[in-house]
Amino acid sequence: MNRITRSYSFPLPIRLLLLTLAVAVLPLLPGCGRGQEEESTLRIGVALYTQDDTFIATIAQELERMAQEEEAEGEIKINLSIADGRSNQTTQLDQVDQFISRGCDVMCVNIVDRTAAAVLIDKAEEADIPLIFFNRQPVLEDIQRWEKTYYVGARAEEGGVLQGQIVVDAWLSNPDLDRNGDGVLQYVMLEGEPGHQDAMLRTEYAVKTLTQAGIEVEKLVSGTANWKRGQAMTKTLQWLDEFGDGIEVVFANNDDMALGAIDAFLETGRSLPLVVGVDATTPALEAVADGTLYGTVHNDAGGISRAMLDLILALTSGEDPAQRVELEEEHYIWLPYQQVTGSNLEDFYPGA
């Protein structure tokens, strides 16, 4: 007690410690970075406009199969997430958002409304995720928005030309096709979804090919069946009421619609005219084998899937994609169409 103590005051080191502790803790508040997980998995988001479309479903299945094969060969692990846009652009945008938030490495989009591509591209660019459109082609202006935007598909006009060619060949070689014998080819046209580039170009070029071949044509009627078999059948039934046997050729923008037309003819019991489709889906090839469908144009679903997968692998391994796939104008991969008729069916449908 007699000692005069300089009482309360912490030793300096302790005071410093307390202070630094107090200061050091504050910046801890916001979350600390998430541990990086090992990145051996390649995540691919695939957005389809609708799974109901046979051709699109085929592409998706092919892609899945090829990814599985690719996995079996190499060390890479591929996670495919496939989303069905159910013909709704808003739904598809949500799905793409989900892909982005899930950390996809690449996105493949079969866009519902090809005029809405800009939004998607902006989203992808913001997240820096390469974007591959397929089958449904956005306009050039949109594709050029960002260098990592690609399009994989077939040239629609080529499909039209080949479809037209099939009809030209058939028409020239088989005079019986001219049912009323007037030398004019009366046709009906089943068109795909309004606004779809394939629908417009195929329609345009199929007929153009005919006229260029010097065949006189008469369009009885054309109508849109939204790529769907059921709607095509309904349309055709109406047309049959109207024109009966006057229809000499049925052009369909895709196989589903061609099959719908055939359904209509079979249901009414009328004799089948020349029906041609595009895509060469499995049911269509069966129909070619049956002889109900005269011919179709092989839209290479497998090729599209292969090209997409190659492009994806090139993009994610950091290679220059142009080295691995044939890239036109830095954005486009074009796949060839091929004619399929009874004569070369074997090449496409080994089961026949």
């Binding site: 009482s7 309360y8 307390l18 709704n88 069946a225 059921g230 309904t234 039934l237």
Partner: protein
């Protein structure tokens, strides 16, 4: 209870009383701060959570109104389609001549995203026209469907069905779509006559879903849609509910009125907001779990707590510092005062710390110095008082002696013994001169002895040489000083007590000698003496004044004077034996010229 509180309060007060100022300040400040902050935190959080609930409620209501509006406009659009089909396509057409298909197709294409089909049936349930599909399933019996019957029953209204699978049209793609059917009674014209029919507009489920989906309610809340009977129309987990893997309180919700309700469903307390959609009787139900309302309550709580704790930490730290700043100088002051109390003289009073404490230190130090001054004054006064008392005593001796001496002189003069009278008066004069010694109290030993000699001369004359006197001083005592008038009272005593009764020749000797640093003056007589204990008691302060013939007081007075002046180790010693004589030994410090000064000064302030 009351007594307990009182006891507790008392204990606290006692404890509080015992605590150091630092503890009191820091603890009470900290306690007040903590209480204040906790109170603030609690009231804030209470306000916050109450506000949050209100906010959530408001938000949900707003969201629901928005959805309601969207749904309403969606349904209106569908009704408009139905209206358009009826009034623009069907009303004016005669079924026998006109084709309804282009009109139906146009309207279907226009609303392709929201519609599954548009179909027209006659009263018997036969298909009149349809888009986009027109092939009826073999098993389809439209007239037995609920939508058909509802339309036929209430012909003035539009009817919305519960969700069901569209099962009328043959679809080669094997698609089974969920639809909500909008049906109405229509009038068909065939060849001029009218008949009844039913117009069916199948809305795709996606349309309704799109309106209700992506609705964000707080706290992972969600929204579902039921019809008037509680049948689910839309639910974010619809398929799970259909598959029996999830449950919803939809049947109970059908009974709720519009507004906010609380319900407990599957042990979950939740806020339910109900809004009825116009015309259809459908109900939009928003569900917000109450648990953890207002965001991540735990996070917020922890953050608030840590803020609170941090401020308490800071407060405590500051309080400790402040209280130390206040109390430390006080404590040092206390320490200094304690030392003062203990009698140390050279204590420095610290003057530091806060202004008030500084002032306090300053005051105390000035008080201490004032006190010292006062104390010195008191000592001076006391001394002076003592001295004056002594002087009184001194002066008490003189008149008595003077009277006796003068009496003797008178007597001698009368007897004509002039020689002796002259000698006596001369001695008296010298005696007085030395007594006065110009007011000094310390005089040379020689003067004192001279004084004693003169006194003895007078006494010898008075007592007719009944005794002889020897006064001797050792040579080493030369130049020493002594208190004045210390030998004379002892001589006086010796004469009175020792000689007056003694027979034969008395001898009184005075010797001065030096012993170390002390000067000893011994007065020895060979008178009757006394017992040693009596001798010892003579100097006792407590002894009552026994005024015997002479004055014992005189001896004691001398003793006291010496002790007062030089200290207790000095003074008188009386050695006596009855019938042997008495020796009084005076012990004084051996003071030379220089040593005298302090005593002189003290005597003359």
């Amino acid at each position: 209870m009351g007594s307990f509180v009182k006891g507790f309060a008392g204990r606290m007060a006692r404890r509080y009383g015992k605590m150091s100022i630092q503890m009191v300040i820091s603890l009470s400040f900290t306690a007040v701060a903590v209480v204040g902050m906790v109170f603030m935190g609690l009231s804030l959080s209470w306000r916050f959570s109450a506000g949050a609930e209100m906010l959530v409620e408001d938000n949900s209501q707003r969201v629901l109104s928005q959805v309601n509006m969207n749904l309403d406009s969606y349904l209106r659009r569908m009704m408009r389609v139905s209206d358009t089909v009826y009034y623009r396509v069907i009303k004016d057409a005669d079924l026998a001549q006109d084709d309804l298909m282009p009109g139906l197709e146009l309207l279907y294409e226009e609303n392709r995203d929201d519609l599954v089909s548009i179909a027209l049936f006659n009263g018997e349930g036969e298909l009149v026209a349809a888009s986009p599909l027109s092939g009826l399933k073999a098993s389809a019996v439209p007239q037995e469907s609920l939508w058909f019957q509802a339309a036929m029953e209430k012909m003035e209204n539009l009817h919305f069905s519960a969700p069901h699978i569209q099962n009328i049209f043959e679809d080669p793609d094997y698609r089974y779509q969920w639809v909500v059917s909008l049906s109405r009674y229509v009038q068909l014209t065939r060849e001029g006559s009218t008949e009844s029919g039913v117009l069916l507009v199948d809305m795709s489920f996606a349309g309704i879903e799109q309106v209700c989906r992506d609705v964000e309610l707080s706290n992972d809340g969600y929204l579902y849609l039921i019809d008037a009977s509680g049948e689910l129309i839309y639910h974010p987990k619809q398929q799970l509910i259909y598959a029996g893997l999830w449950e919803e309180n939809n049947l109970a919700a059908a009974g709720y009125r519009d507004g906010v309700h609380g319900e407990t469903f599957q042990n979950e307390n939740r806020q339910v907001i109900v809004k009825t959609v116009g015309y259809t009787g459908w109900k939009l139900v928003g569900v917000v779990p109450r648990e953890g309302l207002g965001g991540d309550v735990r996070q917020t709580f922890l953050f608030g707590l840590s803020l609170l704790l941090f401020s308490v930490f800071l407060m405590a730290f500051l309080n400790f510092r402040i209280s130390a700043h206040i109390s430390d100088p006080i404590r040092r002051l206390e320490q200094a005062i304690k030392e003062l109390e203990a009698g140390r003289e050279d204590v420095e009073i610290p003057q530091e710390g806060c202004y008030e404490v500084q002032r306090l230190g300053h005051s105390i130090s000035s008080m201490v110095s004032t006190m010292r001054h006062l104390m010195n004054d008191i000592i001076q006064q006391e001394r002076q008082k003592r001295r004056s008392e002594l002087e009184v005593l001194q002066s008490q001796i003189n008149p008595h002696f003077l009277y006796n001496t003068l009496d003797s002189v008178i007597w001698m003069t009368e007897a004509g013994r002039y020689e002796e009278a002259i000698q006596m008066v001369t001695s008296l004069a010298r005696l007085f001169r030395i007594s006065l010694s110009r007011g000094r109290s310390v005089i040379p030993l020689a003067d004192e002895l001279e004084h004693a000699r003169n006194y003895m001369n007078i006494q010898q004359i008075r007592y007719k040489n009944k005794f002889t006197t020897q006064i001797t001083a050792q040579p080493e005592t030369e130049g020493l000083f002594t208190l004045k008038l210390i030998v004379q009272p002892i001589l006086e005593n010796a004469i009175y007590h020792g000689m007056t009764c003694a027979e034969g020749d008395g001898i009184i000797s005075v010797t001065a000698r030096r012993e170390g640093d002390d000067l000893l003056i011994e007065v020895t007589d060979n008178g009757i003496g006394m017992r040693p204990e009596v001798a010892a008691s003579l100097l006792d302060d407590d002894r009552p004044d026994v005024r015997t013939t002479g004055s014992g007081i005189g001896v004691r007075n001398v003793h006291q004077r010496i002790r007062l002046t030089f200290g207790p180790e000095y003074g008188l010693t009386i050695l006596s034996e009855p019938d042997e004589g008495t020796t009084v030994r005076i012990r004084l410090p051996a003071l030379d010229e220089a040593g005298v000064a302090p005593y002189e000064r003290e005597e003359t302030p």
